[in-house]
């Protein structure tokens, strides 16, 4: 199983994501932002960081990177795509996920561990988790305040597309949303960093389930 990790200029969790993918038992594949294809990846992660410095708006410039063309096709064909933190922001900017991530309500960057609840286990990125399971995951962001208009929020709830919800909301997100999925459920975006919680030495393995999910999903 090959999991592609996209490197935009300014990504800074790309290597962390690759190490975690390896720990989860898959083969990480580097995808350079200027690549024209996904090198045969079975799933793709857009990692955290500050693509293009987060200048203008986080994700605003990265969504136009060359690799995003094949990625959008892959996503539309049902390929599993996970956006973590800045990756989530990129997916929203690219309209692969609804909504937008505004500046944290507290106006500050926030780096801490928060408890979240897995709301749905029927996505390729949460299949190995239990529905309702509580995880402690690190967040580290300045723009993680999830926003969508009321109609979109209602639809997300109705269609069961809120994938992760904060039990302690660190940023003012609407409906405590920490992660959502696309209509077809294959594209997931989340602000918490599962790759930072994938080694007991770092104090938590709660994120490993998310990274392992995709293995289970594709093998099935």
């Amino acid at each position: 199983m090959r999991v592609g990790v996209v490197i935009f200029p300014g990504s800074n969790c790309d290597r962390d994501a690759m190490w975690a993918v390896e720990r989860a038992g898959a083969e990480p594949v580097e995808l350079w932002h200027a690549d024209a294809d996904l090198k045969g990846a079975d799933a793709v992660i857009l990692p955290g960081g500050f693509s293009y410095g987060d200048y203008l708006r986080p994700g605003a410039i990265a969504r136009f990177a060359r690799v995003m063309g094949p990625l959008e096709r892959f996503a539309r064909e049902g390929g599993p795509v996970l956006g973590i933190c800045n990756g989530f922001q990129v997916l929203c900017e690219a309209h692969l996920l609804p909504g937008a991530l505004l500046q944290n309500r507290g106006l500050r960057f926030v780096c801490r561990r928060v408890r979240v609840r897995v709301e749905r286990a029927d996505t390729p990125w949460t299949a190995a988790c239990e529905m309702g399971e509580e995880l402690t995951l690190p967040v580290a962001h300045n723009e993680g305040n999830y926003f969508a208009d009321p109609a979109t929020l209602a639809r997300l709830e109705e269609e069961g597309r809120v994938v992760l919800r904060y039990l302690e909301n660190p940023n003012g997100s609407a409906s405590d949303i920490a992660g959502v999925c696309s209509e077809d459920r294959n594209v997931v975006g989340m602000m918490p960093h599962p790759e930072r919680a994938s080694d007991p030495l770092l104090g938590s393995e709660d994120g490993l389930g998310i990274l392992c999910s995709v293995l289970a999903g594709v093998r099935a």
């Binding site: 200029p9 300014g10 800074n12 969790c13 290597r15 962390d16 190490w19 975690a20 955290g48 960081g49 500050f50 293009y52 410095g53 987060d54 200048y55 500050r108 960057f109 926030v110 780096c111 801490r112 690190p138 580290a140 300045n142 960093h193 790759e195 930072r196 994938s198 080694d199 030495l201 770092l202 104090g203």
Partner: protein, 574 residues
């Protein structure tokens, strides 16, 4: 302007000017005078502190590189080495706190990068005046934002540090940033230029009129006027730095560079002259080949610009094209701006003509000032405290609460939560403990890092305080289970030209050096920030120690939390 006014305005004394005349055997032109002025500033030349710094022990079984390079390096086991250094950005932060702190972080990261190491951890040691003053609150808030803004974006975790408040720092905050990098022992790079005919390439951002004479500025007292010296302000671009880091590391991996040096204070001038002096060669810089951000810059401005996010590299001519190509992949500028020559001079060429040329070794060899060490009178009064005369508190509970709510004792969570302390997924013990513990991936090894300073103690007892600072860092590392190995330090003091200032400096160094010898922790790098004075006086003498220790098995570390109800508390020590 007369000659005397000119060199005076550049911060050179009569004696220094005479020395330049003697060294050159002729009168320097304005450009040459400017080169001397920045290189002989305290900031670059250490003219007041160098004689004292010799007191520090700097050898040890694990030391691979002591003072004299961009950072100190110790061996960490399994073929790994740690490069580390701490540096101040006090004056720029006093004037423009966000950018001052941000560019301080950017600068220290490039020092580590220049050793060929990947920057993997940051720490920040901060001092501010009391928070009941609006300006101090503003400085505190913006400095912390600036450190986070840069460190978070560049992807190096800020894993520790300290913050303290005291009136002595009002209007003159201390902003010290430390960076640690990891490098394979065999991949260590040095800054020495070599190979006559090799090319000198400038990597990174374009050059603008940023911070011209910043180095002389940093060696000056802060006055109301400083705030309006706008050309001193540099703006950081962490995105450019991130690309520069990845680019330089790959250039080194591909073996495309002969040597590498960061550009900091005094820009191309200090980098090129240091590279030349260390390699005992000359360097010619063609200022018209430097990519500029602004039109109409004079050679002197180009030579002194402190534009951020730049590195200088020596490259063999046949490799230049590959360097350019690789840099393009990262969107990093790479321009040949000169070459290594055999004449031993730093030579500036503009429009095909030599517009200045001085021996690099003289630029690197600032005059040294040994001043008389006079014990200041304040010490007698300051140290008279009769503990018996302090009444016991009426209610110990209230007294304890008051203590705990003091800004210098309160939880630091609101500060370190603004820093990404986990990026890189190597942070084993996060901020909030006595020291941060980091793992070395692919091994069982780890290392611990702490920064400590004791300004008030050093004010009251410079020698004892200096020793206690080193001891505190040593204890903090021991507390997490690490074996302390070596340290870096930043000496934040007032003016050495005043007897109190020089005494404090000399005595603190004496105390620190003694403790280093006793504890077996050599000093492998450091930085000096003098002239931390405002109209209200000097800051407390505040040497800050950044110490690094090793853990053979990183899983066996300790954390301060009380783990279980019923466990015994034991007080160890005297």
């Amino acid at each position: 302007m007369s000659v005397r006014e000119t060199y005076g305005a550049l911060g050179l004394s009569d004696r220094e000017y005479e020395r330049i005349l003697k060294l050159l055997g002729r009168a320097p032109n304005f450009l040459e005078l400017s080169l001397f002025s920045v290189m002989w500033s305290e900031h670059c030349g250490y003219k007041n502190s160098r004689p004292l710094l010799g007191r520090f022990p700097n050898e040890g079984p694990r030391v691979l590189q002591g003072p004299g390079e961009n950072a100190g390096v110790v061996e960490a086991g399994d073929g790994w080495a740690l490069a580390f250094k701490i540096e101040s950005h006090n004056h720029p932060s006093a004037v423009e706190p966000y950018e001052g702190a941000a560019t301080g972080v950017g600068g220290i990261i490039r020092d580590i990068l220049a050793m060929g190491a990947r920057p993997v951890a940051l720490l920040d040691s901060l001092r501010f005046g009391p928070l009941d003053e609006e300006r101090n609150r503003y400085l505190f808030r913006e400095v912390v934002r600036g450190i986070g803004g840069y460190g978070n974006a560049v992807g190096v975790p800020t894993v520790g540090g300290e913050v303290e408040f005291a009136p002595a720092y009002s209007g003159n905050p201390l902003v010290n940033a430390m960076c640690v990098g990891l490098v394979r022992v065999e991949d260590l790079v040095r800054s020495r230029a070599s190979g006559v005919g090799n090319l000198v390439m400038l990597l990174g951002s374009r050059t603008g009129r940023d911070g011209i004479h910043g180095a002389t500025f940093a060696s000056d007292e802060l006055t109301g006027e400083s705030e309006s010296r706008r050309s001193n302000v540099q703006v950081g671009d962490p995105f450019a730095e991130k690309m520069l880091i990845e680019c330089c590391l790959e250039l080194l991996e591909e073996d495309l560079l002969v040597s590498l040096q960061d550009l900091g204070a005094a820009g191309i001038t200090s980098s090129a002259s240091e590279m030349a002096a260390k390699g005992k060669v000359g360097i010619e810089i063609e200022t018209d080949r430097v990519p500029l951000r602004e039109e109409g810059m004079e050679p002197v401005e180009i030579m002194l610009s402190e534009s951020q996010e730049r590195m200088l590299a020596v490259v063999e001519p046949q490799k230049a094209e590959r360097v350019r190509k690789l840099a393009r992949r990262y969107g990093v500028g790479a321009a040949v701006i000169g070459r290594v020559a055999d004449h031993g001079e730093l030579r500036v060429v503009h429009g095909g003509e030599v517009v200045g040329s001085v021996p690099a070794e003289h630029l690197a060899d600032a005059p040294l000032y040994e001043r008389e060490v006079v014990r200041p009178a304040y010490l007698d009064g300051a140290r008279r405290l009769d503990l018996a005369a302090v009444p016991p508190p009426r209610d110990y509970g209230t007294a304890l609460l008051r203590l705990l709510s003091h800004p210098s004792l309160r939880s630091r969570r609101s500060v370190y939560e603004q820093y990404d302390h986990e990026v890189g997924t190597c942070t084993v013990v996060r901020p909030g403990a006595d020291a941060a513990v980091m793992r070395i991936r692919g091994t069982n090894r780890g290392y611990a890092i702490t920064t400590d300073g004791r300004g008030r103690h050093c004010y009251l007892d410079p020698r004892g305080g200096g020793a206690a600072t080193v001891a505190e860092a040593y204890r903090n590392l021991s507390c997490v289970g690490a074996e302390p190995v070596a340290l870096t330090n930043c000496l934040n003091f007032g003016s050495p030209e005043k007897p109190e200032g020089y005494y404090q400096l000399a005595e603190c160094i004496e105390g620190m050096a003694g403790a280093c010898e006793a504890l077996g922790t050599p000093v492998v790098s450091g930085n000096v920030s003098l002239y931390n004075e405002t109209e209200r006086g000097a800051v407390y003498p505040t040497p800050v120690v950044g110490m690094v220790g090793l853990l053979e098995d990183v899983r066996r570390h300790a954390t301060p939390e009380i783990k279980r109800e019923g466990d015994a508390l034991v007080l160890v020590g005297r």
